[in-house]
Symmetry: C2
């Protein structure tokens, strides 16, 4: 896990050490606009303001103390300790009051402050199995499951922004991940359709290529669907709309297909999947005169002048849609939803999904670009559980009676989440929040018992994770959300892999929806 | 026009000079793998091969001559002149034969060659009105309308790739543009609907914002359409499909929404509009370990670590769909279309169009992201003219009887194209190849006589420009192409700007298509 990193700003120490008596110790440097004038009694002022700040920020949640302080010209060095909450909020309260008092009594202000060293002890779930890295200046000492993290030269911004709390959480997460590396995600069968007679055993993409229904696109992992393949994709879309979404009252929205970084910071996608995004960059200017050198080079060389282009374009400013739900939550951000609009049921099918798949690409099954209907729903927990059941019922009807697939569902949880206490797999609550995967058997991959099935669909209730992150509220009561991604290329692949490409072999329910196939283009 | 350019590799000279007797003069340096051994008679060999090369490349299209040559160790310096075609093809033919003969007779090869100086004379349409720049090493001399361009140190690649021809064309184009700067495009009214009673005089986007039908998106110039606005957009889509495209036999395809640079080089978009593209960049790797520093920084700071991101992402590798037709042509590239597939009528509505609009943005009328159906048609010239008329008839029906718009059509040609001889505005041929713009009156912009109308649609026949560029052939006869972009946001804007947002005020034809409007989300 730690391989591949560039030089880190701090060495990692994992030798035992003697840990101090208090859990948290903040060594602060406060720079004033001028040395304290004579009338100010620092010996009275600093302890008084520190006691006040501890009372305000720690109160009865632990013990805090001013361990020492020194005045050195315009510098005030102080050490705050706590065995309750971490004392950076205490420092912020202290500095604010210090500025007020000195401004009033001595016309001296606080120019800046930082933590030269901020040390915090905490307990890990288990001893780490390898080194732990952090991207900011620090020392980390771990003895068994007891960790002590010191952040060095932590800026005012880092103090205000709780970097210590986040760094501690990150160390805990990294240790947890180490202990689950290589372990499987939790997978528990929920339901299975009857086995169906195997009528086709080929890779459907290979067959579509032979018939020139599809052409592998001009950029990585993207496909051009000719009339017949496009007709199949749109037929699946129509089935999803008419058999699942419209009967359940879902309404369409049309969302931008660029996701802002701010949105993806809130959903957590940016920290989770940065290597799977396609990024979007903008021209630095639209002025043709500024682009003249670029256009002249293109006109003369008929090649892309890469360096000139890099000079004219910004760094990444956004991400091409990875999934639609983040921007749907953005749309509702800061809003309060009227009771009569709940449960809110909406879907988008306008944004095209992009995923940088790299080595994993295969045919139309695993692609860098795909078309997905993404229904999102928000409401009271009980209403969402009922809606999930209604969705399950409609999906079951589609897969059993329209597409006649061999398919199954499973309850899935990533392993490290199961063990982190975030999701208890066996309790009832866990079966409320979480994800159901839908998988289809692909005969060309081998026997149904031993081959990997294709995940072609999922259905999740995520609790209040996103409604909280985007400050979306209900007029009354708790507001949860969930979503269910309908991957149209995967529906097509699952169907063709089981039924083949001959209309005569397709089930009646699907043929009714498909109608007459287009006469595809005849290439000589 | 020339402002804003970084340092150019050559000074521009626009003083008179004495032009030489021959139009084109190529001073070449050929480097051999070894000095010529004694038995080789350069005095016989070089003139003989040059004469042979002139005969092959210039023949009776002009006069070519070997003006001089020198042998200096492994260097052969020669000067080729021509008053017919430019002599770089002659040099290539000479070098190829030289390699063959020397390889056979003396085991000596040609290691490399370049033009130390390649001078070409040509005539301009008019004298330039300002300096002319080029992005490769050169001297340019212009006396009245007579120009002499010398390219310096032109590489083998530049010689093989006709850079001189392209540089000359570029100089001519720049002079032409200078003389038309600030002039209007050609605009000639073709048809106009009757005036309609003005029922609404507001900016429809402002009205939609007030009703919370739309929200200005999280990134530049993009919109989130809530249920009602999405319903209007999809209704327009349905009208276009059912009233125009399906009756005329158009079939849907689904194309990638990333356009490759190679495709845009072929269509000319890359040289025409580089400041209007959104660019796509890829992760340098998908490996989570390599992204650990990035994800750790996000987790601790909750901000985008811009420098680390720039380190992990490639430069631009493609362009987000600007228009759909380039990739449609890519799909057909290198193919021969069967007669029974012609005229080929296809459309895409999957790729979302992106345009970096910068200062020009306004509401839903001029946006950075929009949804367009792009029909493309290929066939014999006569068939395309007939198809264009059929499209015009169907559009007329839609705009007069379904949407009941006040609209007009105009024949448009950019001014510099009119004068360049590429399109003769007044001849019949020009009225075959070219573009018809559809414009709608927007009452909120002011009186119909003096305000700017909204271009909401166009229809073009482009001749064989793209079929040639992509090597698309018909089984029999000439193959032309054309396209007609249906901008759904613009249809919505034109309609709402004239009819307002009250269902009761809408024409029956549209109401039949729209059906019942969604109950939009109620925000408190």
């Amino acid at each position: 896990m730690p391989g591949g990193l560039a030089a880190l700003p701090s060495t990692i120490i994992t030798r035992p050490s003697v840990l101090g008596p208090m859990e948290h110790r903040l060594e602060a440097d406060v720079t004033l606009s001028a040395p304290l004038p004579a009338p100010v009694d620092a010996g009275e002022l600093v302890p008084r303001l520190a006691a006040e700040a501890f009372a305000r920020t720690i109160a009865n949640r632990g013990e805090g103390k001013l361990a020492s302080f020194t005045v050195d010209g315009p510098k005030l060095l102080l050490v705050l300790e706590s065995n309750g909450p971490r004392p950076h909020q205490t420092l912020l309260a202290f500095v604010r009051r210090l500025g007020e008092e000195l401004g009033r009594s001595a016309k001296v202000g606080v120019r800046s402050f930082e933590a030269s060293r901020y040390r915090s002890e905490f307990t890990l779930d288990s001893a780490p199995e390898g080194p732990i890295t952090l991207p900011i200046p620090h020392h980390l000492t771990i003895e068994g499951t007891l960790a002590a993290l010191s952040l060095l030269h932590l800026s005012e911004e880092g103090l205000r922004d709780n970097w210590m709390d986040r760094a501690v959480a990150l160390v805990q997460e990294k240790v947890r991940r180490q202990s689950y590396t290589g372990k499987e995600q939790f997978w528990s069968l929920l339901s299975a359709s009857p086995a169906r007679e195997v009528r086709f055993e080929h890779d459907p993409t290979e067959e579509m290529l032979k018939r020139q229904w599809v052409r592998s696109g001009p950029t990585k992992g993207k496909w051009f669907l000719g009339p017949t393949a496009a007709h199949l994709l749109r037929t699946m879309e129509r089935i999803a709309l008419e058999e699942v979404l419209r009967p359940l009252g879902f309404q369409e929205v049309v969302q931008p297909h660029h996701d802002s970084f701010e949105t993806l910071l809130k959903t957590g996608h940016l920290e989770g999947l940065p290597g799977e995004f396609y990024y979007v960059a903008e021209p630095k200017t639209r002025d043709p005169a500024a682009w003249e050198r670029f256009t002249d080079l293109v006109k003369i060389t008929r090649q892309v002048p890469t360096e000139e282009l890099a000079r004219m374009v910004t760094g990444p400013t956004a991400v091409a849609c990875y999934a639609q739900c983040p921007t749907t939550y953005w749309w509702l951000s800061g809003r309060t939803l009227g009771t009569d609009s709940l449960p809110l049921r909406i879907f988008d099918r306008a944004a095209v999904s992009n995923r940088y798949e790299s080595g994993g690409r295969h045919g139309l099954e695993r692609v860098d670009e795909f078309h997905r209907i993404e229904p999102v729903f928000l409401g009271a927990p009980d209403d969402l559980v009922a809606l999930r059941q209604a969705l399950l019922d409609r999906y079951t009807h589609v897969f059993n009676e329209v597409l006649e697939l061999e398919w199954r569902t499973a309850w899935v949880t990533p392993f490290y989440l199961q063990q982190s206490g975030k999701v208890g797999v066996e309790d009832v609550h866990a079966r409320v929040k979480g994800t159901i995967d839908f998988e289809a058997y692909l005969p060309y991959r081998g026997p149904r018992e031993s081959s990997e099935w294709l995940e072609f669909q999922n259905l999740s209730i995520v609790g209040d994770k996103y409604t909280k992150a985007f400050s979306i509220k209900a007029q009354k009561g708790e507001l949860w959300s969930g979503c269910t991604g309908i991957g149209l290329e995967r529906w097509v692949t699952a169907f063709l892999a089981q039924k083949g490409l001959e209309v005569a072999d397709w089930p009646d329910g699907f043929r009714r929806y498909a109608g007459e196939l287009p006469t595809d283009v005849r290439f000589l």
